[in-house]
């Protein structure tokens, strides 16, 4: 079998294996979903009135729901990819990986299976959190088919980028605890972005950090697509971040996976 069909076939097999794991042991994925959903409810129902007033939206919380949902959707991806780091790290300690390495299968299929599986899980998680958001009153304004497609594309691109980084983190972590700790920034970064409050309300010295870290451009782009706010240069910044992180994560993971196991 030549390279490409072999790669596709073996990667599909590995993907099936990972989806089987996720279906058989859904607790990890579901636990990780709790964080964004809890934050959504907390910020809307407990802090909602103050936050809404703080960003100039009056005392109703509807305005604030619209503001934080895009950030929470991207945070959901960050949260899901922590699970990726943990499961990759777990997987690497299993003898089965040593077996895969001694088989005449496509070298990259193990990692590609993890990445595709994780991106699919991210999308499913985003849909679930999105459904909760809609249930408590989130409505997109002025998004047509094109905007929805672009929003979906952005989410997939962003999930791919974070997943490759998470795979690298999983590969360098000796165990699941370490993987979980190493992947922490993926869920902490949204707190330091424009997810909950606008960047211009932050201290001046901090604004550039919040403005240019990967989450903010993606959040602003998603906000623009779903709510019609101005996207500006955030669109291409988001794409550059996603492509950059994907390439970095891919080569990092590949180098780690191809080197001799301990």
């Amino acid at each position: 079998m030549s390279t490409l069909p072999l790669a596709v076939r073996d990667s599909t097999t590995m993907l099936r294996r990972n989806l089987l794991h996720a279906r058989r042991y859904p607790s990890l994925t579901l636990n990780l979903l709790l964080t964004p959903i809890m934050l959504l409810l907390l910020f809307v129902y407990i802090f909602g009135n103050v936050m809404s007033a703080g960003i100039g939206g009056g005392t109703g919380r509807a305005h604030y729901i619209a503001y934080i949902v895009p950030g929470l959707l991207l945070m959901t991806i960050g949260s899901t990819t922590i699970g990726t780091a943990v499961s990759v790290s777990n997987d690497m300690t299993e003898g089965i990986i040593a077996r895969f390495r001694t088989m005449a299968i496509h070298r990259g299929s193990v990692l590609i299976g993890h990445v595709v599986g994780s991106v699919l899980q991210s999308v499913a998680s985003v849909v679930l959190v999105g459904a909760v958001a809609v249930a408590i009153g989130f409505r997109s304004t002025g998004a047509g088919v094109l905007e929805w497609l672009a929003a979906f594309g952005l989410l997939v691109l962003f999930a791919t980028a974070l997943t490759w980084i998470a795979v690298g983190m999983g590969l360098v972590s000796p165990n699941a605890e370490a993987a979980s700790n190493n992947a922490m920034p993926l869920i902490l970064l949204p707190l330091l972005s424009s997810a909950f409050i606008p960047v211009h309300t932050m201290p001046g010295w901090f604004q550039p950090i919040a403005q240019y870290q990967p989450f903010t451009p993606a959040i602003e782009t998603l906000r623009g697509l779903l709510l019609g706010s101005r996207i500006g240069n955030n669109g291409w910044l988001a794409v550059v971040w996603c492509v950059g992180l994907t390439v970095l994560g891919y080569y990092w993971s590949k180098a780690k996976f191809d080197s001799d196991p301990e």
């Binding site: 294996r17 003898g95 001694t102 005449a104 299968i105 001799d260 196991p261």
Partner: protein, 321 residues
């Protein structure tokens, strides 16, 4: 001479300062069972890891061919010829035994139908039908090892590496595993077996190499290895130091062990030789507290060659009180 399934010259591997393999030559003819025997930490697993393409040998090594394929230029072709069952079971614990088998079938690119048939056949052969629908993590050690081998056989490999296949198994599971390995051998498969059990190598292998501290210290058939070391002996043990001293004076041809208060006399273990020893003791009025007859076995070879010291109980020792 038949073709070599495994031909490795000057295998070298170090981890940092620690030299694990220091120039090891391994040649295994097709269709034979080769056993690499050695204590823990001798480098057995490292040798398997290199030959099975899991890790690379150090640059100073000679050429390595497995199944006729050079590992440095065509590892994929070598991988297609081999199957590996490691010391720690290489099964996916999160999915069922059957799913593990089907996973292997998919990775060997069998058709759906052929995959199902092969999986069912092997599960049956390794007595795993009842457990097939349970997660592999719930299996006992012996079951995991059987599943592991069954998975290895899905691709019909011509060369199988078994890295300490019976370590940690209870005696029953161990004998089951031996039976399985014997069946593989009758199928004409080449087996590369590592073990720290001498009886296992004696039982299964055509040729044995003793690995110690990264070098091969002896190589040959079990019989050849046994001939390498001095023959059998009679061992007399005393509790009374005075009796020991007297006996040592009477039996001046014996090798004394002052610490253990024991004397060791060369002997073939025959009745005649035993009687002569007893007669000599009787005429001097000395009584030994324990007499044991020791015939040479691989333990002796092993302990002699690996320098682990004498005095460790061997299995063929029979006590005569």
């Amino acid at each position: 001479m038949s073709n070599l399934a495994i031909a490795a010259n000057g295998l070298r591997k170090s981890y940092g300062d620690k030299v694990v393999l220091d120039g090891v030559d391994l040649n295994v003819p097709e269709g034979t069972v080769f056993s690499l025997l050695g204590p823990n930490g001798a480098g057995k697993t490292t040798a398997v890891k290199i030959l099975s393409t899991l890790v690379s040998a150090d640059p100073g090594s000679g050429s390595i061919h497995v199944g006729g394929h050079d590992l440095s230029t065509d590892p994929q072709a070598a991988r297609a010829a081999i199957g590996v069952t490691g010391q720690f079971s290489a099964v996916d614990g999160l999915i069922t035994g059957e799913e593990n088998m089907l996973l292997m079938a998919d990775l060997h690119h069998l058709s759906k139908r052929e995959g199902r048939r092969t999986a069912a056949e092997l599960l049956e052969r390794f007595d795993l039908v009842e457990a097939a629908k349970k997660p592999a993590s719930t299996y006992s050690g012996g079951m995991k090892r059987r599943l592991d081998i069954a998975m290895t056989l899905v691709g019909n490999p011509r060369i199988i590496f078994l890295d300490e296949p019976t370590t940690g198994l209870d005696p029953r599971a161990r004998h089951n595993m031996w039976q399985i390995i014997r069946e593989l051998i009758t199928d004409g498969v080449t087996v590369f077996l590592t073990t720290q059990y001498l009886d296992e190598a004696d039982e299964l292998a055509d040729r044995i190499a003793v690995l110690n501290n990264g070098t091969i210290v002896a190589q040959g058939t079990a019989e050849e290895l046994k001939r390498l070391i001095p023959g059998g002996h009679v061992r007399l043990r005393f509790t009374d130091p005075a009796a020991y001293q007297n006996a040592a004076a009477v039996l001046s041809d014996a090798a004394p062990d002052d610490e253990a208060l024991a004397l060791q006399l060369p002997s073939d273990g025959s009745q005649r030789e035993l009687r002569s020893v007893l007669d000599r003791l009787d005429s001097a009025g000395i009584e030994a507290d324990e007499l044991s007859v020791h015939t040479p076995d691989l333990d002796d070879v092993f302990f002699t060659l690996t320098g682990a010291g004498a005095g460790i109980p061997a299995q063929s020792k029979e006590n005569v009180r």
